[in-house]
Structure formats: C-alpha cells, structure tokens
Amino acid sequence: MITLNANTPARDTADITKKYKKKSQSAEVWHRLRRNKAAMLGLVVAILLILMAIFSSTLYDYETQVINQDIPNRLQPPSWEHPFGTDESGRDILARIVYGSRFSLSIGFSTVVFALIVGGTLGALAGYYGGMLDNILMRIMDIFLAIPGTLFAITLVAALGQNTINLIIALAISSVPGFARILRSSVLSVREVEYVEAARAIGATDARIIMQHVIPNSLAPVIVQSTLNVATVILTIAGLSFLGLGVRPPQPEWGALLSSGRQYLRDYGYITMFPGLAIMTTILALNLLGDGLRDALDPRLK
C-alpha cells in the first residue's frame, strides 16, 4: 500500500492528536451539559426521583405504611414522625408521595418510550419518503392532534376500562403525533443534506441511510421533546387521577393525593401542598434537563 503524505508532517498531527483527546459525540454532549448548572440540577433531581421510585419499597412498607388506614392519627400536621403530616385516613403523606413517584414516573417514561417508538417510526418514514405516504400519515396524525390529549385519554380510559395499561396506551396515542411531527420535520431537513446524498452515492440502501445517517442526525429535538413530554404526561396522569380516571385509590398516585386532599384545602393545606410540590419539582427538573439537553446537543452552539 502506498502512502501519500500530502504535506502533512506526521509529527504535527501526532501533537494535535495528543492535545485534543479523541472525543466521542456523547462525551462532548456530556461535557457541554455539565457546564449548564440548571440542567445539572434538573438531572440530579431527576436521578434522585428515579432512585426514590426504585427504592420506595425499601424505604416504606406498602401494606402497613402506604395504604393502611390509621384513623386516630388522621390529619396530623408535619412532625418528626410524619415529616409531611398525615392525610384524612391517617396515612403518612411522605410515604405516599415516595411510593407515588413509582406510578407517576413509570407511567410517564413508558408512555414516552411507546410514543417515541411509534411516533418516531411514522415521522421518519413520512419525512424520508415524502409524497403520498407523508400525506396519509401526517393527515392521520393531524386527526389525533385535533383532539385534546387529556380529553382523548379520558375517552379512551372510559371506553377501555380504568387500568394502568389502558392509561399508558391512551396517553401514548395522544403523544404520538407530537413525536411524529418533530421527527418528520427534522428528517425533512436532514434528508436533503449532502452526506445523505453521499451515502446514497456509496450504494447504501434506504434502510441503512435512515438508520445510520438520517435518524442519528435528527434525534436532538426528539430527545428534548421526550424529556419535556415525560413532564407533560406526568401532569396529565395527575390530572386524570385528580378526576378519578387515572390510578385508582388507595394507590398513592400524586394526582390522586391532590384530589383526596382538596376537601381539606382550607384547614389542612399541607395534604395537597406536598404532592403538588412533588409534581412541580419533577416537572421543573425534567424541563430544566430538557432545555439543557437541547443546548448541549446542538453542536452549533459550541
């Protein structure tokens, strides 16, 4: 094999290589994300919440502490024994919030994963192939988009029956159009780029072009949307539970906690305040993280 050294002294390049360590894309995104304090705060809070959800069964016993009624101790204000006080049935609010994170987060994440896979696939196909396929798919998406998400979820849960799976399906379906539209629009711009044409010119198949070149380059807005969407879904679940259509009592979902505390709002505000704070913190954390990711993922902002 011949080597043509077109005026690039090997020494120079070696020095350069040493100075700038090889950075993968993800390492660089992480580096940029770390400089964003708000995003890091969001990330830490989000990780704490996830850990809390995972280890909630170690912290509290579901049967005795979370759903077991203890009428003599009802409506107690915050104290050392019950840091967030007790609710109208004497259950420890902190324990219920900690357990509630399981429902909120797991439903939130699984909804988004489901919506991402379905919506992402549809959006990528519509954006890449365009034409009729694009038209048909996106008009169907428009129909779904015309129905307000919460209303749609209420209808679907009412029709299919109230359980967690149906709740996830209902929420996911109403999130699908959002993902489809976002991925479609970024695929539309990426498919015109020269490296996609170059990939075609080296004989890559459509499937390979979509998987290797188009989707990885269209993901940034989707990642941001996913993070923000988890927050939206958590809020919607809370709303549905508040209306009695989400997670069934006595399961401690955050929205359900709010709902059950609302008749005591005037005298025992903490019953609703703490679950409300939990929802707010989670959503704030996810939004901060989402915004930070958007900045970190955009290499042009370097």
Binding site: T3, L4, A6, A14, E197, A199, I202, A204
Partner: protein
C-alpha cells in the same frame, strides 16, 4: 491487485445523447440536452462550464441519483464499461454506487456525517460492498493513511478535521472500493488554493495507482489543465467543444471556450483587463431556438439564431458545434481571433 486493468470495453464511461429535464410546475427545465461524454479507462475527462450548465446533473445521472421528482432522464444511454446504467434497477444501482462508480461532492464540510467517526464512514462503503473481506475498519484506516491522514485519527469526528483533511477523507471514502470511475464534482471549490493543489495532486496520484478513470466536473480551467487528459466544454447542457487538452487550450474553436479563457487573468500581461463573457446563461426552461450561445456570442450571425449548429471535427479528437466553421476552414483552426 487491479481489476480495472482487464476491462473489455474501450470506454469506462460512454454517455450519448443524454437528455435530463426537471419537470416543475412552472415549466420544464432542460438541464441536459443531448450530452455526449466518453472516458477511456484510466484517463481523466474535464467537464467545464458555468454554474447551471448541467454539469452536476450530468454527474448525478451516471449514478441515477438525479432527484426524482422533478428530475426525469428523458432519453440517451449511459454505458459503464459497456453496461447501460439507465436499464438497471434500483437494487442493481446500489451495487454499482460506491463500488464501480463513486462520487466526490463539492463541499467536504457537509458531505460527511457529523455523528459518525471518520473511520466508521469509510468502513461503511467497504462494508456495503464487502470489499477486502472481513475487516472494514482496518481497510478504512489503511485508506486514511493512503490519503496522508494518520490512521489513529480515524476515531475522530468530522468536526475535528480541517476542510482539506475532510476532503481527503471524502476521497478516501470514494476510492475505498477501488472504483472504475470516479466522479469529482468540483472537489476543490470549497478549498483554498494551496490546499487545492495538494488535493488535486493527491487525486492524480491515487488515480494513477488504482487506474481509475475520472470525470472532473469543474468551472476552473486551471484545475483542468492540471489534472485532465481531455476536456469537454459544456454550455446549457450540451458539449460545445471537446478535445484533448492541447486541442482545446491551443486551438480554441468555440467562442464560448474563448470567452472562458478571456475570463482568466493573464500572467504575461498583468495590465490586461479581464474580458468576461457578457450576459448570463440562458434560462434553461426557455432555451434559444438556434445556437444556445447565440445571444452572448460576439461572432453571432443570422443563422445562429435560427439553426442549431452541427458537430464538426477538426481532427479525430477535437470537435466543435458552431456555425463559424465549415469543413474547410475548421482544418486551419482559429477563425476566432486571439
């Protein structure tokens, strides 16, 4: 090592009477109008013309990559080593692209995928065509060394390379499968002059080693003089003059070619003013009835506006399409003043 040596056909590329149109709502854009190009194995043809002359469309047609819709290849044939590309299915084309024919795009900044490492991108071509058997990544690093980039830098991403280096990566990618024909679409336009010279020199050497034929699409006559064996001057999608370097540079026949030369600065006479070709390229959706160059031609006469000129040969290699010439005066050469 070289399969390109034992080709049976004379021409690596034999394109004849190619017509490509873009059919838009506003009308039909006639991008390529009966283009003939021939490239012998191992030689380089320069395709020279202004922006919008149909150079890139011609290049893309060889790979059947003309964006469709709106692009339509109306007629003509493109023979790659004797096989007609236009009769191939999309599946068969995928096997040709990158392996038999590869393309270097104009802008190295955008023709590399920003989220893939450089070696992965080179390895992708090798993987697709299963060249060299087994270790695409090793071959990719070899290719990098070949274009003068240390193999270990392959693990880096395109944004960590300079423009010239990126173009070398693109060249490594294009040559990875040892193609029969390399289409270089203005490969040096986005580079500065010093890097241009390096890249061109490297392409010329690599091409010789691999015995690859090359179609050099450019608007730069300097690049042509440096790299090409033959030149086709293209205007409004048609070859107006074709010949060897010597034919075209020394015995310029067509007024358009003359205009291109007059637009270059003259090293011997630094005070000489540049004489740009007046006017603009005709609207390709509304081409003149006669000679397409007629509205801008200093030598235009009545017949030029009405009748398309026929092809006239000065010698076996050199031809021109212009009414200034007839069988007699073409042999003398140089009706147009220099």
């Amino acid at each position: 090592m070289n399969e390109n040596m034992n080709n049976t056909n004379e021409f690596a590329l034999d394109m004849s009477d190619l017509v490509v149109e873009y059919r838009t709502e506003d009308g039909i854009v006639q991008a390529v109008n009966g283009l003939d190009l021939q490239i012998e194995h191992g030689s380089t043809l320069g395709l020279v013309g202004e922006t919008g002359a149909g150079k890139t469309t011609a290049g893309l047609s060889i790979l059947k990559l003309v964006p469709s819709p709106p692009g339509v290849i109306v007629r003509g044939s493109i023979l790659l080593d004797g096989e007609d590309v236009l009769k191939k299915t999309e599946k068969e084309m995928e096997k040709i692209r990158g392996k038999r024919v590869s393309m270097i795009f104009q802008d190295p900044m955008t023709s590399l995928n920003p989220v893939m490492t450089v070696e992965d991108q080179i390895a992708e071509v090798i993987e697709i065509h299963n060249e060299g058997g087994g270790k695409p990544l090793e071959k990719a690093r070899e290719m990098l060394e070949m274009v003068g980039i240390p193999g270990e830098r392959g693990r880096e991403y395109p944004h960590q390379f300079s423009g010239g280096m990126k173009q070398r990566v693109v060249i490594a990618m294009a040559l990875a499968c040892n193609p029969m024909l390399l289409i270089a679409d203005e490969p040096t336009t986005a580079l500065d002059v010093t890097i241009q010279a390096q890249v061109l020199e490297m392409m010329r050497k690599l091409k010789e080693v691999q015995n690859t034929s090359m179609l050099m699409i450019t608007h730069d006559l300097g690049v042509v003089a440096e790299t090409c064996d033959k030149v086709s001057v293209i205007y409004a999608g048609r070859v107006v003059e074709h010949g060897t370097l010597e034919d075209v540079f020394e015995n310029t026949l067509h007024p358009y070619t003359e205009g291109l030369f007059n637009s270059l600065p003259n090293l011997d006479d630094r005070k000489a003013k540049l004489k740009p070709i007046k006017g603009l390229m005709p609207d390709p959706s509304n081409l003149p009835a006669g000679c397409v160059f007629c509205p801008r031609c200093n030598y235009a006469c009545e017949i030029c506006a009405e009748e398309k000129p026929k092809r006239l040969y000065r010698n076996a290699t050199h031809y021109v399409e212009c009414h200034l010439y007839n069988e007699k005066n073409i042999l003398e050469g140089g009706v147009i003043g220099k």
